[in-house]
Subunit: 225 residues, 8 copies
Amino acid sequence: MGHVLPSGGGKALMNVDDAALLLLDHQTGLFQTVKDVTVAELRANVSALTRIATLLKLPIITTASEPEGPNGPLMPELAELAPHAVYVPRNGEVNAWDNDLFVQTVEKTGKKTLIMAGVWTSVCVMFPALDAKAAGFNVYAVVDASGDPSQMASRTTLARFAQSGVVPITTNAVICELHRTWRRPEAAEIADIYTVATPDYRTVMESYQKAKDVGSAQKQYQDRM
Amino acid sequence: MGHVLPSGGGKALMNVDDAALLLLDHQTGLFQTVKDVTVAELRANVSALTRIATLLKLPIITTASEPEGPNGPLMPELAELAPHAVYVPRNGEVNAWDNDLFVQTVEKTGKKTLIMAGVWTSVCVMFPALDAKAAGFNVYAVVDASGDPSQMASRTTLARFAQSGVVPITTNAVICELHRTWRRPEAAEIADIYTVATPDYRTVMESYQKAKDVGSAQKQYQDRM
Amino acid sequence: MGHVLPSGGGKALMNVDDAALLLLDHQTGLFQTVKDVTVAELRANVSALTRIATLLKLPIITTASEPEGPNGPLMPELAELAPHAVYVPRNGEVNAWDNDLFVQTVEKTGKKTLIMAGVWTSVCVMFPALDAKAAGFNVYAVVDASGDPSQMASRTTLARFAQSGVVPITTNAVICELHRTWRRPEAAEIADIYTVATPDYRTVMESYQKAKDVGSAQKQYQDRM
Amino acid sequence: MGHVLPSGGGKALMNVDDAALLLLDHQTGLFQTVKDVTVAELRANVSALTRIATLLKLPIITTASEPEGPNGPLMPELAELAPHAVYVPRNGEVNAWDNDLFVQTVEKTGKKTLIMAGVWTSVCVMFPALDAKAAGFNVYAVVDASGDPSQMASRTTLARFAQSGVVPITTNAVICELHRTWRRPEAAEIADIYTVATPDYRTVMESYQKAKDVGSAQKQYQDRM
Amino acid sequence: MGHVLPSGGGKALMNVDDAALLLLDHQTGLFQTVKDVTVAELRANVSALTRIATLLKLPIITTASEPEGPNGPLMPELAELAPHAVYVPRNGEVNAWDNDLFVQTVEKTGKKTLIMAGVWTSVCVMFPALDAKAAGFNVYAVVDASGDPSQMASRTTLARFAQSGVVPITTNAVICELHRTWRRPEAAEIADIYTVATPDYRTVMESYQKAKDVGSAQKQYQDRM
Amino acid sequence: MGHVLPSGGGKALMNVDDAALLLLDHQTGLFQTVKDVTVAELRANVSALTRIATLLKLPIITTASEPEGPNGPLMPELAELAPHAVYVPRNGEVNAWDNDLFVQTVEKTGKKTLIMAGVWTSVCVMFPALDAKAAGFNVYAVVDASGDPSQMASRTTLARFAQSGVVPITTNAVICELHRTWRRPEAAEIADIYTVATPDYRTVMESYQKAKDVGSAQKQYQDRM
Amino acid sequence: MGHVLPSGGGKALMNVDDAALLLLDHQTGLFQTVKDVTVAELRANVSALTRIATLLKLPIITTASEPEGPNGPLMPELAELAPHAVYVPRNGEVNAWDNDLFVQTVEKTGKKTLIMAGVWTSVCVMFPALDAKAAGFNVYAVVDASGDPSQMASRTTLARFAQSGVVPITTNAVICELHRTWRRPEAAEIADIYTVATPDYRTVMESYQKAKDVGSAQKQYQDRM
Amino acid sequence: MGHVLPSGGGKALMNVDDAALLLLDHQTGLFQTVKDVTVAELRANVSALTRIATLLKLPIITTASEPEGPNGPLMPELAELAPHAVYVPRNGEVNAWDNDLFVQTVEKTGKKTLIMAGVWTSVCVMFPALDAKAAGFNVYAVVDASGDPSQMASRTTLARFAQSGVVPITTNAVICELHRTWRRPEAAEIADIYTVATPDYRTVMESYQKAKDVGSAQKQYQDRM
């Protein structure tokens, strides 16, 4: 947030002005084969990513693999939370980067930093991540907004990302890396987005609010005495 | 649901007409000590229980342990989903059954089957469960709408329930035990409640709906040919 | 197998001549919510049960909960492996025992020992198991040919079975309890059924056969010298 | 706490006036073989039990198995936290109940409810627990203030306790069962004891206090405006 | 050890003078299907049981299921550690209690307490355990000197033992329950047997011996000064 | 599949026209020491690899380590699914790359991309993978079609692959990397191969087909009205 | 410890004379979202780091993210154990390195080796670690004195550190890397610090001391004879 | 084994003629803090390494950290299995490479490949491994013949090894990398060493031998007919 944050820090972090979000094959049929994260957490993380990207005006591109077949429809939250996202249909390609329209749509954003998530991580994220990296993009793979069919696949995918120079990251870190400072007008909505990806944070906020109210009420009571 | 289901089955199951739901100390401070279920799942399960009880008109009684102190406020979903629930304040008693008003409120419902959930399972559920069992009630303890501070505590609590004649049960089973038949007017809402306690069921329903639509569209297309 | 085994043992075991197999709601939609056993193992175990029951001529009754809806169709292996099984349609009842035709079909077998498996264990097995137990049957619940939506549900269900006098058992134990002796004509087919429920047993048999062949060949070679 | 709590509840709970705490073989050599709980948690739980028992004036009896040998000395916290505890030396008996002085010391307390913890759970707790149960005592086994040499041993021990009528319980539940009400003079110290057995509770209290102070300060600030 | 221990304790424990050890189907082929304990631990536990039984002169009966077939030979440690054990061949019966000679051999010992271990726990131990219990014996099932083909099977088996009145126990507890006192001539050998079932105990003893030597040497050094 | 896919994507992926599959020591004796993946899954993954390679005409080379000894015979599925595979016997070398005939057979394929799987991963895959990498090949190690004797070994092996520039991958990713597009004549058979490596995908397809049929039938019914 | 240790070793280790400790956002509200380490262990590890740094006179810098809000206050141990630590307030920046005062404070220490720990690891440690690395510092990230909101986040963070050239390390290794030799005046206090981060070490020391005393006493006794 | 194996393979593997084994601080006191591998497995792995190194005449150097203190004595197996090993005493240095005599002893072997194992992995192995790597040695760290005080430490250590160019390896892989071919005179003893590090291999061999004997006997029987 160069325009918000005067600091000279963050040179090693992603630049929010140069980033786009690619959501790859978050389809309900594929979800039923995911075993390294619960589907409930996966959907929540994808929703959180979609909300922060929408709030901070990152381009969002979605795509699906054979959505008329067993892979199923895209999770409906995507259309609800990011009506402005561009959907790119594919012609059967497993690797989104094999689809010319998809690559052109990415290039048209003018962004060089790509935040990718999808199902399966080892395939639908890995393949375009490797291709995009080879094409000169900075690539972040959001592993908990993605899903793999086994724990062993998940560990293997993480190792392959690291080996290939794709940066493995989690949803909460993406939000923070885009967020950068609480001194901004969107702070309240960002706080709410955190509670989607990290539900315990909601509990912490509820406890905090109540305790603050108790403190305030006790003070008022003491003052009256 | 005697009035819905003509069958002679279910004699060994809970009788929806004789049941009340007791929600004990679902407070945000206590949640932060729960380690045998995620807080997100715990809250979802409590919400699902609250919704099914409200839909099927079971009495609901809520209570809290020192909500002005560190234990924190009741989770706000309770008031939203069950505005008709009766809240019983306590005077510091750890065991709700030690509070006369609580016991009277339970007795006033006239129900002999008590479905209990709370935090901690080993304390806030266990103590009134044992007392209620001793007082002649049929008691069900919903272990995944409750929470304990360790996995070891959770296993121990389960063993103590079983040993004491308190029936251990999970949220999805309570819903089913109250639901009993899909041939009832509330079926659609009950299906929705299942997706709260079992989020994968939502994914299954989405895949199903899409595939049915594809089948319908293909049929229409074939018919036109 | 009184007719095979002259021994006086086994008085505490299930009597193969008095047993029937009930397969409850093994539907592909429900499978996608099962989290306490892999679906691959679950299906293998159900297939193994179906095969041993068919081989030893136990009555098999199958049923499904709303198979036209999201719960999905019965796993097709059932029809392949047990074409003689009786399928009982239901009218929306969650609890098969709530369906009169189901209860009558069970009673018509004349068997007093019921081996039950299904999805969810905590519901589709638990409810008829409790009702059947109350009606005087001996009930065995095959927990790994059944499935529950969480590990916590699975542990809870196991405790409730034990508390209620329903005997918890696993597929390999059911096969053995029906099998009883290797001195019977079906031994080779039973050995093959074991490899379905316990795939490592197949590996053991392959290693054994090869080593025996090596021993035989070496002997032949030595004899020639 | 009959003298504190006017309620008629708690009939199924342990009676603080009739209870004694037996701490069996909490020795540092044996600790090094414990694998079902971390030694840090085990020691913290034993300390918490010792503190609540001391605070509420329960008799405490300690003993050790061959403390001059590899089993090692008693954990020193016992002497620090409960200087009044009675130590009973043994003459090589594995089962404390085999030692006449130990049994006499227990009987001399006049209490009929025995809260036991020790290392190993499956031996040093199990044996006197079974003997005491047979001798007519009510016995509680505190499984997380005890330790077993494997997870499998731990599960097996829990099942044997339940089967034998010994009540399995955890440290936090013992504290609560003795505590019973926050309206008592010892409340602040009891709150502190909770933080020993459940360290997350300390964190909750710290967050609470800070938030209350913030609320109070903000109120003061608002009032000034 | 009535003849060693003058105490009146231990009434609820097994009586060493009335106990026999039954080792059922500890065969190397079956071992390869065991998944609830490592085979290394399983063999060590069986060896420890065999040694303590041999030392204290308990009758030992071994048997095998089709040792010429894939189930494989008995683990050779049995013959080494208990040359006096009686081996009962079977005629294909899965349940050892179905074999008349086996039952007669058990009865001939005159013992009423049977300590059983075997592979699979759910079958080779469960079946004779249930039959022996029904025939009036006291039965202990040593779950970690036995093995089951899955963790789910292991948990289920434990629940079925508890439900049936068979006492679930672990190897270390059996040794202790037979051992009873360190004031006996066999103490040193028993200490060595503990290190087989609980290898960490060996480490504790080694550290102890070294530290004691250091203490002795330092004292000697100080005395010289 | 350059000849199928017109796109310019996939530059960073394996080239199906330049790849060979090496299956190393998938022997039933070695399988019995594998502890990081179930043998059932391991065999299914090897079968899936073999089928996709056969379908897409990749050269397949198999080899075994001392198949007349305890290591046992190759899993028989290999010969069934890939009758055209070339088997290279070894003369006792642990590392297949130490065998000249093996290296020559690999070189004769003319392929520079080697997809390797075997048992143990840390040895039978690692050694030739390192040697082949050093010799200038692109090497992929399929970790879930391979097996290691412990979880710790599995993690260590993954780290060593990544460190050495060998690409760690899973079976489902290999299939996808070879598959590349659903718009090809082999699509139906490839879909079937997916169900072998990812059995939940079969369940998804069954649910899909049934739901589509329901949609079609309901449409037909509506049209008639 | 160049001034203590004459050896030429340790060239690849951190140089105690060039190191500073940065403690980032160890706040009680954030603690309640940590799921990859227990909060009790996390606090103990942070305390141990603080003590060793204080003892060996490393500069310590602390900071907090919005401590008046839900994130909560810094854990109070910091002020107790390191009263000399410099606290840098922030103006809402998530990344401490975005705060100019923080960077200046770091630079003013003149140290080029930064030992960082904080909550969340993936954010509050990762961001300044990456920035500091880019600015030419040697950076160590102490992963068990830090916390992440899921196990998946924890694994991902570890991979990203390794990929970025930040050295992942644990508390016990930091202590050892600073400690370097037992021949130094602070040895006794360092031994005590080990017991904070590795509580089992305390148990080992207690057993050792007792055994040494036994050895000494026995020697004395023997000498008297 | 250049002198045994004519092949040109193995260029990327360790060279047995250039390797030495360094065993660092395998002391019984430290063992009691190890939590990422069981002590039984750790000791077995160290014994297996010692045996293969002795058999193949690799130099072995052992050392200990303060063996008169709580860290305890070296495991006695070392002296039994490798009487020729050189023991280097230290003067309090945590890092063996800080001890000049140790470094000289290593250098005197003339070997450039160092196989290291020790307790703790993160310290006693890591520090000399990093120093030796910096000094130009090829370093292998045997992670399962080493031990760390937590699972988190273990994962972190593995990542740091990989990041630093130290090769992480397991005991079974070291044996194989030294073994290289079954066509050597030591084959039988090497097979026996495998059973120490991989106990399931022993079970496989026992099953194999028995089955081969059965095959031989059946052949003999058939021939007689």
